[in-house]
Amino acid sequence: MLEVVNLTKRYGESYALNDVSLSIEQGTFTTILGPSGSGKSTLLMSIAGFVDPTAGDIRLNGRSLLPVPPERRNFGIVFQGYALFPHLSVRDNVAFPLRMRRLSSAETERRVSEALALVQLQDYADRFPRQLSGGQQQRVALARALVFKPALVLLDEPLSALDKGLREALRGELRRLHRKVGMTFVLVTHDQDEALELSDRVAIINKGRLEQCDDPVTLYNAPKTRFVAEFLGKSNFIPVRKLGVDGAVVRLQAGGVVLEHEQAGDATGAEAVLVLRPERIQIAPEGAPVGPNAVRGVVEETSFRGAEISVTVRTEIGTLLARAPSAHPFVRPAPGDRVVLHWMRKAGYLLDSADGTEAAGSG
């Protein structure tokens, strides 16, 4: 198990990492997700041994890694931009870690073939990196990082240099590869879809701080901060005040409307923010019979997005974004239509106002 303990890295006065703690279980796929400049690479390179932390510790199975030089950590790294050796063939690139470990040439050859087969590049062994496409280079980098059976595989934005179609195809491949080899993967990315689709756990960092580390479903449905809620897709943030509790149901005052909410959430104070994903909001024509949480409004804008349609509605409690399946038989909202937005009691998530105001803007 890998543990990152209160890790801090300062460059002059600014913090690239600020008191980050994280633990990564053997065999899992963990993703470090954050916007560009948030400290993801710094975290990964600290684990790899190329960045000296200012404070804190990194432990593997209880032993501190800080005194161990990078070449002794036995971690396979796929660098941002791949860092393939341009003067070596694909075969020699993949054989490099085995040669450094002084394996016999027969064993080296066997393992290299195995690794190249794993990433389906058997026929490219004699090519040089510049003779390969971006996707193929990425796979060589993977083979090179896996061939010596490292204790941990670190990947720094391995897919971000590729175009969209290829990126999605390789995502599936990466997931399959992880299942097949059963090693511990730590991936860094700024792409939320990549993080949600690939990972067992996602650690979201922002400005050098860990915001939340959870499985993708929890992160999406129960974000602990407004930053997390905003970073993982769009959300509506409705400022509310708690009126009272009826068993499991909390009654909330939003503008002139009373809403009902039924789910734990973290909010403890009287002022809170209700986080509501657009796809959890239903749209109905005005006057249709609806449930407890209903607000009236006028459609401001619609945008067709293939499988779904995005609708911006100016309501009595502020402007809300809703999404409906575009194949919906009854709902064809158009700008100017008067509609009712409604949602179930369990649709939202309640945040403390303090957490909710940390990030700017609203979804």
């Binding site: 790899a48 190329f50 030089p69 990078p70 070449e71 950590r73 396979g76 860092a83 450094m100 090179r144």
Partner: protein, 278 residues
């Protein structure tokens, strides 16, 4: 069609000044030298035959190639170390090194050669230090021989050796050495197997540049060689201005030019092949 030919005409028009310039100042004199080398004192290749038959001439050639070769090896070795230091240096140290490298370039070669004479002569500072520290009892002969010429020439050539190597080092992706380390290579192995091979084009460029420059050195060997070390440029000058054997001088100049062109061509081939990945 019409647009095409008009474009071609405009292109030629723009090219004319440099073509004229090159013809008048370069092609014509070089052609003339070539001509003189086969027509003076009479039509034929007798000047070129001298290269094989004349022992003194052969000696000058060998001396020139030897000194230029040694200068190249030493300057490139020193340049490599300097370039590596620059590559790993912080900003302030880098600026200091660059200043120290560039400063001598603003001083005349003649002044630098005479400065070396005063430093290296029997009662100069260098011998003073050697005797003072007891490394030697009597002054070592450091000028008016090949050692003096080498010291002076290496000094002039070091910036030319350092900068191409440094440029290549700068261009190496910093993640490559990190990748090597992460894959289990020690820092020495990383240097030997990854960094050094990637700097070979820089070494090649530096060697060619230094060699083709050193082979035509004139002032430094005259001053520091003190008449004892004659390199080809000085020999040519003597043929032209003193013995008036213009044909011989022109022949030597032609051979020198041929050697330089050969190296430039070989280097181009080398880099083109590298880029094509052969």
């Amino acid at each position: 069609m019409i647009a095409g030919s008009r474009q071609t005409r405009a292109f030629l028009l723009f090219l004319t000044p440099s073509l004229v310039f090159l013809t008048v100042l370069f092609a014509y004199p070089v052609g003339k030298v070539l001509l003189v080398s086969v027509t003076d004192p009479e039509l034929g290749l007798q000047n070129y035959r001298l290269l094989i038959e004349n022992a003194a001439l052969r000696r000058v050639f060998l001396t020139t190639v030897r000194i230029a070769g040694l200068t190249t090896l030493i300057a490139v070795a020193v340049g490599y170390v300097l370039a590596y230091r620059m590559h790993t240096a912080g900003e302030r140290e880098l600026r200091l090194i660059i200043f120290c490298l560039m400063f001598p370039l603003w001083t005349s070669v003649l002044v630098r050669a005479f400065s070396w004479v005063t430093l290296l002569q029997s009662n100069g500072i260098v011998n003073g230090i050697l005797i003072g520290t007891g490394l030697t009892e009597r002054p070592i002969q450091l000028v008016r021989n090949e050692i003096g010429v080498l010291i002076g020439m290496v000094h002039v050539m070091i910036p030319y050796a350092t900068l191409p190597i440094y440029a290549v080092m700068k261009g190496i992706d910093a993640r490559l050495p990190q990748a090597a380390r992460s894959l289990g290579a020690s820092s020495l192995q990383t240097f030997v197997r990854i960094f050094f091979p990637l700097t070979l084009p820089g070494i090649g460029a530096a060697m060619i540049l230094v060699f083709i420059t050193s082979i035509g050195f004139y002032v430094t060997p005259i001053v520091l060689g003190g008449g004892k070390v004659v390199m080809i440029a000085e020999y040519i000058s003597v043929q032209i201005t003193e013995t008036l054997r213009w044909g011989l001088g022109a022949m030597l100049a032609t051979v020198l030019l041929a050697i330089v062109l050969l190296f430039v061509f070989a280097f181009r081939r080398l880099t083109v092949l590298r880029e094509q990945g052969a």
